[in-house]
Symmetry: none
Subunit: 402 residues, 2 copies
């Protein structure tokens, strides 16, 4: 029996409520002796931590820094090495494109060619407005190639997403991108027999687009990369018998939540707005994923102070979440984003779980911080175990074997 | 190379002695701030803990509560998701039925039918004495069906075990149980071609039994469930080159030990009796599994105080075990059974290993308790690693690779 079969076998449907709060990129590294989380004034989190089980979680495995895709699969309980989310799909999710079971997504660049030689891979980084005009023009003209439905979506500047919907498509094709200027337009090639149709569709698309855009200089061709299939992930409703909902502001996180079958709830942009949405929808679901983005954004910017402020903002709003009195509450990150690195990192995430049947941490683990969590009763574990641990604490797992 | 191939490759036969003491359901949850183990006065365990390596173990994986079967496979070093012990086999082990390599075991209920309609699935919960009379009567009359040997064993009240011995049997059949009253006798069906013989044997058995018992009202038919094959588990003598023995009072634990090839030693019922047996047999084996049941029983009863008392009773007898001076001594649980839950739970087990070549725990991990073990030098690990760790500490594993 594998892990997923086990979970499906032992999970029980009940009304107990679980809330998982992801402060994106929460974990940090010390600057003048303290991390962002240790520098923040967080009386509510510390108070909660002293009555919770604490630990540290590894998104993938020790030493491996994850992107948002695998990091989120992991906290949702899925093996991020088993399920991979192709670049095209991630790009599509990132700009809010809906992708479904039979869809393929591809990252496109508008580019400039002269006599079929690529002379700019980004078509002079045109404005996003210009991009929208061109996409709107193309949408009316390229709707189908052979039996495959074509959909186009604007990204930022020169970027767009191409979505293919139809039968007999395959990921097993090469990128249509010469990767440097001065080389001819490169067509996609099938890497196996069953991918021939896909390569043909992509190449016909390049030719059609090039023809349609002959008067749009510097935009007069495109590059296509990262063709990816919608991943076939069993939904949380099947694996864990949950009725799950997501509250997130950024499209990529909504998209990731959708991939595992969460319903996406309406929310405005602030943390306060997200908690409003939680309160409003609290009776209708039994699992809530709440995503706070700005901890990561400021970490990536190298802005230690502002990352501290976001943590403090969340802390001040925590009592509203506690008031809902969920059966199980988790607060953690998807990965660390230390401001001094200005990037995601491999350092494990501070982790807190509050439920009814719990043990006590060491008497020196009393705060919500990286160092304190390292002394917690849960030790260090993989993020893929977070959801099973929440299930257990919510009495949603029956005994395995007699 | 898989894990079992690794163990087989690196294990060495030597005379060093290992003792594994399982206090069933040892781990608990705090009541008024302390778990059962933390409430018990255990000067000997605490003294031993301060000179041992400590940690916490997970029987299956984080959040998963195990039954006795998978929990014991795990502490014996076997992957409990790879080897599953079917319900029929577990029932047979539970009442002390010997099952061997070619045997199948089935849980039986005596039931009541009227005009072939099941009107009581438990035949009025007849007394165990009545059950014994009926089984004794049947044993003389049903000894074989076709080429399959039939054996029958009384359980409690309406329960019995049917053992089939012979060739070409299969688990791949449906239960012969309509699951509710008012429905006709349900026969077993083969779920695949190779299971047809098994279904036929089971159905002939039902008809024979029904015919034989026509004058035993309310017992006049039976239901058959959980047909299971003796699991094909490589013995500890092969995997670890051990000469292993088990000292347990309850049939199920003797049965589980037998499944992995342990010899079962004679013992009376108290912990003191079990230690007598250990002393008596100490020269004849190099691995001893000693099972103490009552910690779990009182946990399941919700009797915090009595669980504490059993732990204290064990503590008072510990010096006798220490006097044997085994090369490696482990004291732990198979799973936790917190009194406040009155059931098995997912919380990891306090774990102690005493041997010659060991590191020191943190200076705050000085007792044998859940919180203290969480600070131990061993951290948290899977119960399947307990036996390899004992092997290493007993110098029974050679270096892997050059």
């Amino acid at each position: 029996m594998n892990r997923e079969e086990l979970f499906e076998k032992i999970s029980i449907e009940n009304q107990n409520k679980m809330i998982m709060i992801i402060l994106d990129g929460l974990g940090g590294l010390p600057v003048k002796g303290k991390t962002e989380l240790e520098s923040a004034k967080t009386p509510n989190l510390d108070d909660l931590a002293s009555n919770s089980e604490l630990g540290l979680t590894h998104p993938i495995s020790i030493g491996v820094t994850p992107g948002s895709g695998p990091a989120h699969l992991s906290i949702f309980g899925y093996d991020p090495l088993k399920y991979t989310i192709g670049r095209g799909i991630l790009e599509a999710l990132g700009i809010g494109v809906k992708v479904g079971a039979k869809d393929f997504a591809i990252r496109g660049n508008f580019a400039t060619q002269k006599n079929n030689i690529i002379i700019d891979r980004r078509a002079g980084r045109i404005s996003t407005e210009k991009n929208r005009e061109i996409i709107s023009y193309l949408k009316k003209r390229i709707k189908k190639i052979d039996d495959i439905k074509i959909s186009l979506f604007s990204g930022e500047e020169h970027r767009f997403v191409l979505r293919l919907s139809g039968n007999d498509l395959s990921e097993n094709v090469t990128d249509a991108d010469p990767e440097e200027i001065g080389k001819p337009i490169l067509y996609s090639m099938a890497k196996s027999k069953e991918a021939e149709k896909t390569a043909k569709i992509l190449n016909k698309f390049i030719d059609r687009l090039t023809k349609e855009l002959k008067d749009f200089y510097p935009v007069n061709t495109c590059l296509l990369r990262g063709i990816a299939k919608y991943p076939d992930i069993p939904p949380m409703s099947k694996l864990f018998k949950l009725k799950p909902a997501a509250i997130a502001v950024y499209p990529m996180y909504k998209g990731l939540a959708q991939l595992v079958g969460m319903e996406i709830l309406e929310t405005q942009k602030s943390i306060k707005d997200e908690i409003n949405s939680l309160e409003k929808n609290y009776n209708n679901y039994n699992f809530f994923f709440i995503h706070v983005k700005k901890t990561d954004s400021y970490g990536e910017d190298g802005n230690f102070e502002k990352k501290v402020k976001v943590i403090e903002e969340f802390d001040s709003l925590l009592p509203r979440i506690l008031k809902l009195n969920p059966d199980t509450l988790v607060i953690t990150g998807d990965h660390s984003t230390p401001s001094i690195l200005k990037s995601h990192s491999w350092h494990p995430n501070p982790f807190l779980i509050k439920a009814k049947y719990q043990r006590k941490n060491s008497e020196t683990a009393t705060k919500f911080s990286e160092t304190s969590c390292a002394k917690g009763i849960l030790g260090q574990f993989n993020s893929t175990d977070i959801l099973p641990l929440m299930m257990a604490n919510s009495m949603k797992f029956r005994k395995y074997g007699a």
